[in-house]
C-alpha cells in the first residue's frame, strides 16, 4: 500500500510524521521524499542516498528554416511555451511541461526534441527522493519520474511511505494521486485549521481515504477538532508538543525513536492507517 503524508502548508511536522511512520511501519516498506524543492527526509533516514539518475524533459526547439508559422503548435500548447505570430517564433523551454503535443501536431516537422535537465533522483534499497535543479520551477514532472522509479525498483509487495510536498497545488496533487491513503498533518491553531481545510478540499476529489495527524497538540484551540468531526475526518494521532522532542528532531533524530510514548503513538497510527486501507480495499 502507498501512504502519502501531506499538509496544506510547510512547517507542520510532515517530515517528522513521515520519518516516524516509516521507522515503526510493521511491514517491509520504503520511504519516498517527493518534497523535491527541499528534500530533507534523508537527513533522518541516512545513510546518504546515492545519485541514481538525472531527469530530463523533452522540450521543443524551433527550426526556423522549416517552420511555416502556421501557429498550430502555439494554439495547442496550454502552457504558453511556444509563441508564434507574423513570422516570429519563440519557444520558452522553462514553461514546457513536455506533454509532447506540439511535436505531433506540427505539419512541417519544424520542432526538434531537445533535453532539458530538471532534477535528479537519489536513493538506496529502502529510500528514494527527487531533487529539483536549483532555479527550476517544473516540479510535477520530476515528482512523477520519482514515482515511476519507485514502481521500477521496489518490489510490489513493499509498502511506500511518501513525504508529499506541502501545499495543495500541482506538485502536492502529483504526489498524493494514486495512493491508498492520505494522512494530513496539521497544527491545532486557527491557521492550521485553515490549511487543513484547503488540503482536505483539494484532495477530496481523488476519492482516496484520508485521516488527520495533529502535531503539537495542546497548543491552540478546538476549531480543528470541530472541523474534523463535522466532516467525518478521523483524527488518527495526536503528537504532543514537547521541547525535548523538538530538539531531538532538530538534530536529525526520528521522533518515534525518542521515547516509548512517542513510539507507541506512531505504532498505533501505523496500525490504524493499515486497517483503514485494508477496509477500504475490501469494499
Amino acid at each position: 500500500m502507498k501512504i502519502a503524508v501531506a499538509s496544506g502548508k510547510g512547517g507542520t511536522g510532515k517530515t517528522t510524521v513521515a520519518s516516524s511512520l516509516f521507522s515503526v511501519w510493521p511491514e517491509l516498506s520504503a520511504a519516498i521524499d517527493l518534497d523535491v524543492e527541499e528534500p530533507n527526509l534523508h537527513i533522518f533516514l541516512g545513510p546518504d542516498p546515492r545519485r541514481l539518475k538525472t531527469v530530463w524533459l523533452e522540450v521543443p526547439e524551433l527550426d526556423e528554416e522549416r517552420c511555416t508559422y502556421c501557429g498550430l503548435c502555439s494554439q495547442l500548447c496550454q502552457f504558453k511555451a511556444i509563441s508564434i505570430f507574423d513570422g516570429v517564433g519563440l519557444t520558452f523551454p522553462e514553461m514546457c511541461h513536455a506533454c509532447g503535443g506540439c511535436f505531433q501536431i506540427c505539419p512541417a516537422g519544424a520542432l526538434k526534441v531537445v533535453q532539458r535537465e530538471i532534477g535528479s533522483i537519489h536513493g538506496n534499497q529502502r529510500f528514494l527522493m527527487g531533487r529539483l535543479r536549483v532555479g527550476e520551477a517544473m516540479s510535477p514532472p520530476l515528482i512523477r519520474a520519482v514515482r515511476r522509479e519507485a514502481e521500477r525498483i521496489f518490489d510490489p509487495s513493499m509498502d511506500l511511505i511518501i513525504d508529499a510536498p506541502p501545499g495543495v497545488s500541482c506538485p502536492a496533487a502529483a504526489a498524493v494521486r494514486d495512493t491508498d491513503f492520505i494522512l494530513l498533518v496539521a497544527e491545532p491553531t486557527p491557521f492550521g485549521c485553515h490549511d487543513l481545510k484547503l488540503a482536505h478540499q483539494a484532495f477530496e476529489p481523488f476519492g482516496i481515504p484520508m485521516g488527520v495527524a495533529i502535531n503539537r497538540s495542546g497548543i491552540g484551540d478546538d476549531e480543528i477538532y470541530n472541523y474534523c468531526s463535522g466532516k467525518g475526518l478521523e483524527i488518527m494521532a495526536e503528537i504532543p508538543f514537547d521541547r525535548a522532542v523538538a530538539e531531538a528532531y532538530s538534530f536529525g533524530r526520528i521522533v518515534a525513536r525518542f521515547s516509548e510514548k512517542m513510539g507507541s503513538i506512531f505504532r498505533i497510527l501505523a496500525d490504524s492507517i493499515r486497517r483503514k486501507v485494508l477496509q477500504h480495499q475490501a469494499k
Binding site: 502552457f79 504558453k80 511555451a81 509563441s83 505570430f85 507574423d86 516570429v88 519563440l90 520558452f92 514553461m95
Partner: protein, 122 residues
Amino acid sequence: MDKIAVSAQSPDLDGPMDQRFGRAAGFLIIDPETMESEYMDNGSSQVLAQGAGIQAAEMVAKSGAKAVISGFVGPKAFRILQAAGIRIVHGLKDMTPRQAVELFKNGQLEYADAPARPEDGI
C-alpha cells in the same frame, strides 16, 4: 509615427497607467500624432496562472504597435517584443498614458535593453 502601446488600468488616456505588463488591466494603443487611442482588454492574460507576459506581448505585437511603455516588462515578454521588433520603455509609474506618450514624443524616455528584474518591484 508608429503607434505606441501603454499598459493602462482603464481606457481613459488621463486615467492611471498600469505598472504591470503581463497582468496589466489593458493596453491603450495610441497614435502619438493625433492622440487617438484604442483600448485592448487584457483580462484573459490576467487570469492565467503562468504565461501572462507571453500572452500580453503577443497581443501587443498583433496590435501593430512598434513601441511599448510600461512599468515592468519581464524576461519572457521582453524576448517576444524584441523578436517582433517592438521597442520597450519601462520603469515608469505614477503617470497617465497621455503624459507617458508626451514624454516619449519629446524624446525624454530611453529604450530598455534588458528585461526588468524581479527586485525592481511589483
